[in-house]
């Protein structure tokens, strides 16, 4: 009985020690977390050469390349932000940006359309 009371007091002391510490949480809408350097957020495409490697490594089939109309499409509804496309792109055309608040009210806004510059000679 005495032992039990001793342990209860000891554990209460441990809890009280934490009372005077700063909070570790972040009040989200007011304060925002700054993502680290390698963060995998919304994919951004620049100077695509149409080699099509990204479509072959994408696990969910989120990327479609329309060579005729010169449009590069990423469907964010399908994208799982794995970063495979950015890692395997030989031209460094795809980059994962730090943008992470991607919610919208229109479905169409989630399909990203990027214009392609020159076509790759190899294909």
């Amino acid at each position: 009985m005495f032992k039990d009371i001793k342990y209860l007091i000891l554990s209460m002391l441990t809890v009280f020690k934490h009372l005077f510490k700063k909070p570790v949480t972040l009040e989200y809408p007011e304060k925002r977390n700054i993502p680290p350097e390698n963060f995998r957020g919304k994919p951004v495409v620049e100077n695509c050469k149409c080699c099509g490697i990204c479509t072959r490594v994408c696990p969910s089939g989120a990327i479609t390349i329309d060579k005729e109309n010169k449009v590069f499409k990423i469907d964010l509804k399908k994208c799982i932000f794995c970063g495979n496309c950015a890692y395997y792109c030989p031209h460094g055309a795809i980059k994962m940006s730090k943008e992470y608040e991607l919610g919208t009210e229109e479905k169409e806004a989630l399909v990203l359309n990027y214009k392609i510059g020159g076509a790759d000679e190899r294909n």
């Binding site: 039990d4 342990y7 554990s11 934490h18 390698n38 970063g83």
Partner: protein, 361 residues
């Protein structure tokens, strides 16, 4: 007296997913327990047959979202062994460091969730606070907190950095674990709810193919890290406790956190010594696994995890099978809950560390 059939779950806050237990009660005593799994089935194994290896690699983190590194390590290892690629010491150390940090994070979450099941709230916040440091470190090096996708066939995606973060974390961790122990280990309420409850003896554990911490808490010294080629240069002692009850499983996890921290510290030493990252990466676009069958295993936080791949020499596996530790722990509930009281059902099933995405795959 008539028997009562009671559904525990599938949406119960303490099942860490969706597990349905069909309990048959006589008063407050459980006569039989029938676990009903499959609510979280995503077809992980069937999916592998339609995807190439590199397309499948980001998805394996989702088999067990609390210990994703272990499963991507298994898939990478399968390919590396098939092509007989020797990893450089730095890559090995990176992998060991991340695996052990992942194990600590997984055990920390378990401590929080288990104590929450028993009605204690403060340990949950303390454990999550420390886990957050690990997850933020993972985010810094790999880009995401849980779905890391950091290991690739033949090495890692980019060189590791921010080692001082890990150093600081390993410095404060023993103190924090002491804090948990002060709060929990000898607490009379905790002792009453766990001591002697849900006893798992050696024979039952073997019959139900239990591995990992649950087995080691029952007095069997079986740690698959001992024979693992990644852990060859690391010194550690497997945690073995004799009692086999819920309390022993708790204590074993606490001790394993300390042990993992030691391994991580050793890995850190190697990383400071070996500075250049040499790796032979496999081109994923031409990757075709030679015809044959492949099998690899690793000690995951929830028991032995293993992969079986049958390849016909194509760029996609013909058949891929995962073995995960939690699946066997769920099956054990049939035996271990029989004769227990309903009040203890959650405490016992919580102590086994069941994670449902791992069970249903």
């Amino acid at each position: 007296m008539s028997k009562l059939k009671l559904n525990l779950g599938p949406q119960h806050p303490s099942t860490h997913g969706v597990l349905r237990l069909i309990l048959e009660l006589d008063g407050e005593k459980i006569i039989s327990c029938e676990p009903d799994v499959g609510y979280l089935h995503r077809g992980m194994e069937k999916m592998a047959e339609k995807l190439t290896y590199i397309q499948y690699l980001p998805l394996v983190d989702r088999i067990d979202y609390l210990a994703g590194f272990f499963y991507s390590e298994l898939l990478c290892r399968t390919v590396e062994k098939a092509f007989e690629i020797e990893l450089s010491p730095r890559v090995k150390a990176i992998r060991v460091l991340l695996l052990e940090l992942n194990r600590i994070a997984s055990h920390l979450l378990w401590i929080g969730a288990f104590l929450m099941d028993l009605g204690a709230v403060s340990p949950f916040f303390y454990a999550f606070r420390e886990r957050e440091i690990i997850l933020q470190y993972f985010e810094k090096i790999s880009g995401q907190r849980m779905m890391n996708n950091y290991f690739v066939f033949g090495g890692v995606r980019r060189d590791i950095g921010y080692l001082e973060d890990v150093e600081n974390f390993l410095k404060i961790l023993p103190d924090k674990v002491n804090d948990y122990e002060k709060l929990i280990t000898e607490n009379p309420i905790f002792l009453q709810r766990t001591k002697g409850k849900g006893v798992l003896d050696k024979k039952t554990a073997f019959n139900f193919a239990i591995t990992g911490v649950n087995l080691r808490a029952s007095g069997v010294s079986l740690d698959f890290r001992k024979g693992d080629y990644l852990y060859k240069d690391f010194e550690f002692t497997p945690v073995v406790l004799e009692e086999g009850d819920s309390w022993a499983r708790y204590k074993a996890r606490i001790m394993e956190i300390r042990e993992s921290a030691k391994i991580a510290a050793q890995a850190l030493e190697i990383l400071k010594r070996e500075n250049n990252l040499e790796q032979t990466l496999i081109n994923p676009l031409t990757l075709k696994l030679p015809e044959g069958e492949y099998f690899q295993e690793i000690e995951a936080p929830r028991g032995l995890a293993s992969i079986y791949v049958k390849s016909t020499g194509d760029s996609k596996p013909y058949r891929l099978k995962w073995r995960t530790g939690s699946y066997y722990s769920v099956n054990l509930l049939r035996k271990i809950l029989k004769g227990a009281y309903l009040n203890d059902a959650i405490a016992i099933s919580g102590s086994l560390d069941i994670i449902l995405p791992e069970v249903d795959k």
